[in-house]
Symmetry: C2
Subunit: 252 residues, 2 copies
DNA sequence: GAGTGGTCTAGACCACTGA
DNA sequence: CAGTGGTCTAGACCACTCG
């Protein structure tokens, strides 16, 4: 007998002996998403059509799509179709910026780009992005303000290859959320991220940028974001002022 | 045909015009969990038996169970059965205490009860617990340490009715996680919680208890936990030392 | 009314566990 | 080997959207 010809799932450390059909279908759909066959905001083919195309039953396609919808890669809308999730929706943005006003009255952030330049990856960034130390990266520094109040100072590291051509001008030209622009202009869609939070005392530089006293308590947020197949594509080091805001999350 | 006899779903503000069968089955199973018909760690009846009991197909029961498993109320184990989730498992504890060592080397916390007494609910606690201001509550103060290093100072508020008879002695007698004891001894299982995080400067009392300098940055964590049907049953105000640890979470 | 996703059923067979 | 959950199929019908 030949070797296992499944190329849908990479073997990993513990090669599973059995891969259900719907997982293979899921991998095929994921590939279409990654490749840009179907674009963010657009519809994918109907269940019936995918079932015919892959030569499986509708129920099998459905199970694959249900998992992708649970992972926020797809959005199902009864009567209309199944759509590729996009960052150009307020709901999605809320999921990625967890800072909320204590009094519940939402206000929009104003985004100011302080800097955007090419650099060589320091060791820690390189490790997080699965690059070699010294490889080309892009560094963005930006400030989010509420009205006149600086609130979030971010330092964003991106792999140079994937974001070639990203400049301050392009960032300034495009308002709106960064992740929306990344998926439109660079074909890189952020799927999720891991965050590590600490309370720290404001250093001199950060304190000045955020207009707080040196030594003031700040929420430090380190994020590693990934795209399809858990490939890391962004490191973000943020400092949040939590005087009138809090970081909201759910556990359980 | 008679009127719709479903008493499984409460109408809510927007009474849904259509409630699928599997949701009604889900509500019936949830009731059994809430009532203690099936206890944490124990098995619920098999899919076939539930299908027969409720007079629906196995597939419908399966869909109800799948949702409950996705919400971490049930745990499915192929070949063995479906079990009621319990806090007496390390996996579950990790989900509720998000503090992790920076270097990845896990260490167990030592739990010391500083105080446990009856009190009257302040306004904010009362509101969070859906009590009237001044109603009986239990206040626990406790310290989690890593070796000799105090790391987490918690102030825990519980509704007096539900936790009648909870004393320092009972807390001390039972080691292990609080939530495990709550579900065993008081029949109240914590399902999930919302947390609000801020960076704050240590006040005098807190600084002394955590052996840090007054004004040192601390991670303040305010938690409201709920049991079945989203009923709030605990308010927790914590201060975390994040010198060598971080709060880990996922976004997306 | 045509087309989409959503529900429900019935049955066959597979993967896994434990006695 | 019996019993459990897991997969896959096929078909019927329902709820919803939109032209």
């Amino acid at each position: 007998m030949g070797a296992n010809e499944s190329d849908a799932i990479e073997p990993g450390v513990d090669a599973p002996r059995f891969v259900p059909l719907y997982r293979q279908i899921k991998a095929l759909i994921t590939r279409g998403l990654r490749d840009g066959t179907w674009l963010p905001g657009g519809a994918i083919p109907s269940e019936m059509e995918l079932a015919a195309r892959f030569n499986v039953s509708q129920g099998t396609v459905r199970k694959a799509i249900e998992e992708l919808a649970a992972e926020n890669l797809l959005v199902r809308r009864q009567g209309r179709g199944t759509f590729v999730a996009t960052h150009d929706e307020p709901r999605t943005q809320f999921r990625f910026l967890r800072l909320r006003p204590d009094d519940g009255v939402e206000q929009g952030f104003v985004n100011r780009i302080l800097e955007c330049r090419r650099a060589r990856a320091p060791v820690d960034i390189a490790r997080s992005l699965a690059l070699r130390s010294g490889e080309a990266v892009i560094l963005i520094r930006r400030l989010l303000s509420l009205g006149e109040t600086p609130t979030v100072l971010d330092e964003i590291w991106l792999p140079g290859r994937r974001f070639r051509g990203l400049t301050t001008e392009r960032l300034a030209a495009r308002g709106g959320p960064l992740y929306g622009m990344f998926e439109r202009e660079f074909g890189t869609r952020m799927i999720g991220a891991n965050e590590r939070l600490k309370a720290v005392a404001a250093g001199r530089e950060v304190a000045r940028a955020l207009q707080v006293a040196e030594g003031a308590p700040l929420l430090q947020v380190e994020r590693v974001s990934f795209t399809y197949d858990n490939v890391p594509v962004e490191v973000r080091k943020g400092h949040y002022v939590t005087e009138t805001h809090h970081y909201a999350t759910e556990v359980g």
